[in-house]
Symmetry: C2
Subunit: 680 residues, 2 copies
Amino acid sequence: MTNDPLVIFTPSGKRGNFPIGTPILTAARQLGVDLDSVCGGRGICSKCQITPSYGEFAKHGVTVQPDALSDWNAVEQRYQDKRGLLDGRRLGCQAAVQGDVVIDVPPESQVHRQVVRKAVDARPMAMDPAIRQVVVDVAEPDMHEPTGDLERLIAALADQWQITDIHAPISVLRGLQPALRKGKWQVTVTLHKGHNATHHTLINVAPGYDDSTPYGLAIDLGSTTIAAHLTDLRDGSVAASSGIMNPQIRFGEDLMSRVSYAMMNPGGDQEMTKSVRAALNTLSIEIAEQIDISPDQILEAVFVCNPVMHHLLMGIDPVELGQAPFALATSNSLSIEARDLDLTALNPAAQVYILPCIAGHVGADAAAVALSEQPGQSDDLVLIVDVGTNAEILLGDKTRVLACSSPTGPAFEGAQISSGQRAAPGAIERVEIDPVTKEPRFRVIGSDIWSDEPGFDAAIAVSGITGICGSGIIEAVAEMRIAGLLDPSGLIGSAEATGTPRNIPEGRTYSYVLHDGTADGGPLITVTQGDIRAIQLAKSALYAGARLLMDEMGVDKVDRVVLAGAFGAHISPKHAMVLGMIPDAPLNQVFSAGNAAGTGARIALCSVAARAQIETMVHEITKVETAIEPKFQEHFVNANAIPHATDTFPELSAIVTLPQVNFNTGGGDNAGGRRRRRRG
Amino acid sequence: MTNDPLVIFTPSGKRGNFPIGTPILTAARQLGVDLDSVCGGRGICSKCQITPSYGEFAKHGVTVQPDALSDWNAVEQRYQDKRGLLDGRRLGCQAAVQGDVVIDVPPESQVHRQVVRKAVDARPMAMDPAIRQVVVDVAEPDMHEPTGDLERLIAALADQWQITDIHAPISVLRGLQPALRKGKWQVTVTLHKGHNATHHTLINVAPGYDDSTPYGLAIDLGSTTIAAHLTDLRDGSVAASSGIMNPQIRFGEDLMSRVSYAMMNPGGDQEMTKSVRAALNTLSIEIAEQIDISPDQILEAVFVCNPVMHHLLMGIDPVELGQAPFALATSNSLSIEARDLDLTALNPAAQVYILPCIAGHVGADAAAVALSEQPGQSDDLVLIVDVGTNAEILLGDKTRVLACSSPTGPAFEGAQISSGQRAAPGAIERVEIDPVTKEPRFRVIGSDIWSDEPGFDAAIAVSGITGICGSGIIEAVAEMRIAGLLDPSGLIGSAEATGTPRNIPEGRTYSYVLHDGTADGGPLITVTQGDIRAIQLAKSALYAGARLLMDEMGVDKVDRVVLAGAFGAHISPKHAMVLGMIPDAPLNQVFSAGNAAGTGARIALCSVAARAQIETMVHEITKVETAIEPKFQEHFVNANAIPHATDTFPELSAIVTLPQVNFNTGGGDNAGGRRRRRRG
């Protein structure tokens, strides 16, 4: 039995006896309580704020006297004056034990905290980052005991923080001596330790106590668009988001045409690698500018991407991914340096983590979706569809998870569409067509007002109406089908057959005029027969992939559908089902998950535990290879109509009535169903 | 008790019982016998050659029957036909145990062999390299079990060689898939594992069984010259040697003027870094060309250099080395990648090891000298002087080793000398002056014939006579002193005073004409008063450093002197002593060690154990800082004369009589003794 006072921490419940005078931070450390500190008890970082509780605690069997902690001191007063402390808060490094005490560690003082944000899109992140910052006091050099400044810094880290096995990149070594001298031998050290690493990498050494935020980039590198989230590595919040087109589009719109480009052009793969890396640098600089930080403050990047993008990012010729057995050069996760990818815009010592691939056609993006949506923890059977130029499809529940990818092409992202564009202000994103008048109304990105509502013109004065984005084209095609402007084979009817002058001839086929801005010098935005065919190809591929997984699982229907993708949040479940993008499911069980791949990237960026989790998870997922499965072709051909026979879509009849039209007169275009689908 | 046959290996003496049919290589591996194999028993590399012994071995208690091993087989016959096997040799992977047997492992079949070379300069190297090559058969990809090619290679290394923890740089990943397919899933893998590393780094993957030699570069990066030895990493032999001038000379001839350059010119350090790295690439390409290999075959480089060169190589501003307390950015050894130093000429995955520094003024070059000369293992007190622009001086024996460096300046390397040049064909390297006639004779690099011997003109027809190198100027100055052309203060006498027309006026001082080639359009090679002063400064610094260590050690004389340096092998001990470069010692105890720093670099290149050894050793060496030691100045000033008072040089009087001359008439130059020495 000890007579030392008892210290009880909540919420962990950890407890121990400590001599009078022990700082609370010290007690927390000795008990392994998750109490943050960057300055290590120097009273400068204020990360170790705690709330003592007073009174009787029957549950804990202690009574806490008002003088259970040492008096409020000058360091706390200084912090209070400068930045303010919440009522009842103390600094854990200053408040010392005087008697039995109960100490609450508020969430924001925990390193491994779960930070809840308000925005719907911003999923709470469990923080367990690879990046860590600590303040150390380094011994000054002594001519009679000559050691390097680095060696004394390493000794200080071991002594003051018990952090060992330090790896110092040359880029950091270069700034070490000035930082130590400027900080008068006190520096804030930023360290990185991956979950598989045996060492800590020195990322930055800043003079004195440096409070600048460490940032990371979560990047969803798609075939058509590159989306990035600049993330605060202290709390996981998204400080800025941005996206740009993947410049590799000029080498081929879909994955297989890029693989072909690499095969046909010596050095073609390196050309594509160079272009995507340049775009990533541009994007990094642009996103940093948004919140007015130096891109140098970006210390880590996490990538998710499909296997072809993965290889082209790494500078590996993707040729093997273009032919069976679709062998990846490497399938495991990669922990590399940003400079390995020529990401010169980031901090010179920045680290990169690339999620593992699942198989030759099922990439790190699918892994990221699995990490974000956790199908393996679902009680009901969930189908997750990540819509992009290449669709990642997951089907599963607690018993088993299947995955495949399907080459939908870029139509869903607004590419290969005559008036298509990426989602940006001015793009039509929502469409409704009156089944009687056949007149459309729409909304454009940047405004909540429909085009037939007052104030629309004013609302879009800046952006104008520039084109149709992915969600817009899906709605437009589905609405055209509902309004009887399209027949089930996908053929657009003539003005006579449909009774609307908006169906105008274009060559031997017809287009539907969604918006005519030509009078004001604006664009004529139509949906052409070619657009319909492109969407049909895309949705057939998507549907066929989902059906293939359902065959493999031995089911005819799913309990729940999650639509994900860079524009996943914007797809209307009703229209997706009218289009026949997804198998039949109760409409109220079709959800939009937003950019699940991007969210998966953010989760991995904020947590090394999540990285370990997904690395295990990918080995437990059963991969289904669409490219060699004859049934995929069969499903693909059968899925061409809009929609399929009503008996496969009973749910749909409850929400829409699809007109019995047939515009196929033997002339015109009807090649959609017969056209051979491109596939590598 | 087992009935299995007994297998005894010599010279290790390891023994064990193995079932009939066990290949000798397998038995060796299980016993931990050092028997090489690259192909892992596939009968293609022939590294595992062994010699069975037959008959009675009383010592071992066995009798070996003629049929103790399996019959000579087709694989051995194929190798015999193709390349030949020495009489009595078998391939260890083919010959299998049939009965008790004694197996000798010849030196060339041992991995950790000590290879003895014939050339005097080529020290035998204890081989324990970081580089290792193995052949593996990799499983082909299977669509139904999708893993990356790298993951299957890693599995094969673990399975077939028990090698785990593989790190694959992107540069190697890039070539992995083509190599595996070209080699039909058999590849030769080159791995690197440093003594401190927790992982093996994949350096190269070549198709099939690849027999090409792995090379390393041992580089002595001096202030004035850069010397490199291209070394065969299988046996440690030097395949080619080369040297170039350090292009940093244009920023300052000695270390402190380069530090000044960095201090005075923003970005000046980076300028110097760039120039030395470019020179290293040029040197690497040039040395590879010498033996007609691709520089891509150079897989590792080991550097030794002084601290300022060390920092400039690493791209670290050396400013702290220019002022007390002379703090190094890092003092420990460095294991980095060649690309960290922009050494793009080498293999993209090449590794670099830089020896540890001893102190701010005592660098990795001094550490290399210690590794090569092992003063700490000497029974007698040895003074080791590595002569260069910065001299590294070590003094010690088994009880204690001291080290310092001394800024001698570049005079000993032929720089700052009016007719000076680096050691190359055409340079005067040996000089004799007749004490009576005052006429000189000399030898130039590239010929063994003295200038007054028949055939001299023919011998030097190609190179001509171009200047004086370091060893030449030392001999010239010493011979001038012996011949009475110089007085003890270093002043050159006039023609009248010395009685030779070769002493010609030059301004207010005199020069000695060593060679007048002007009649044939050649150079006039003289030793000027300025040259004498430069040599006096250099040798005083050297001597003062040595004396300082002797003071610290509490001795007045040393038992043995080792002269080292890039031109250490060429310095005549007698002339060095006449000049007063080194403290008095029995002349037969003054040795030339050649380029000890370069040898130290080669030792470290060939052996990771040696790297571990020097890393321990540097912590046991006592560093003496010349720059702040008042006694250094005192010794320096006292050492200016040529030579010092005879009572400090009793040994010298036994070999030469120095004339009692005094040319100081009050006019002329006599500033040598008073001129302030430059020093940072």
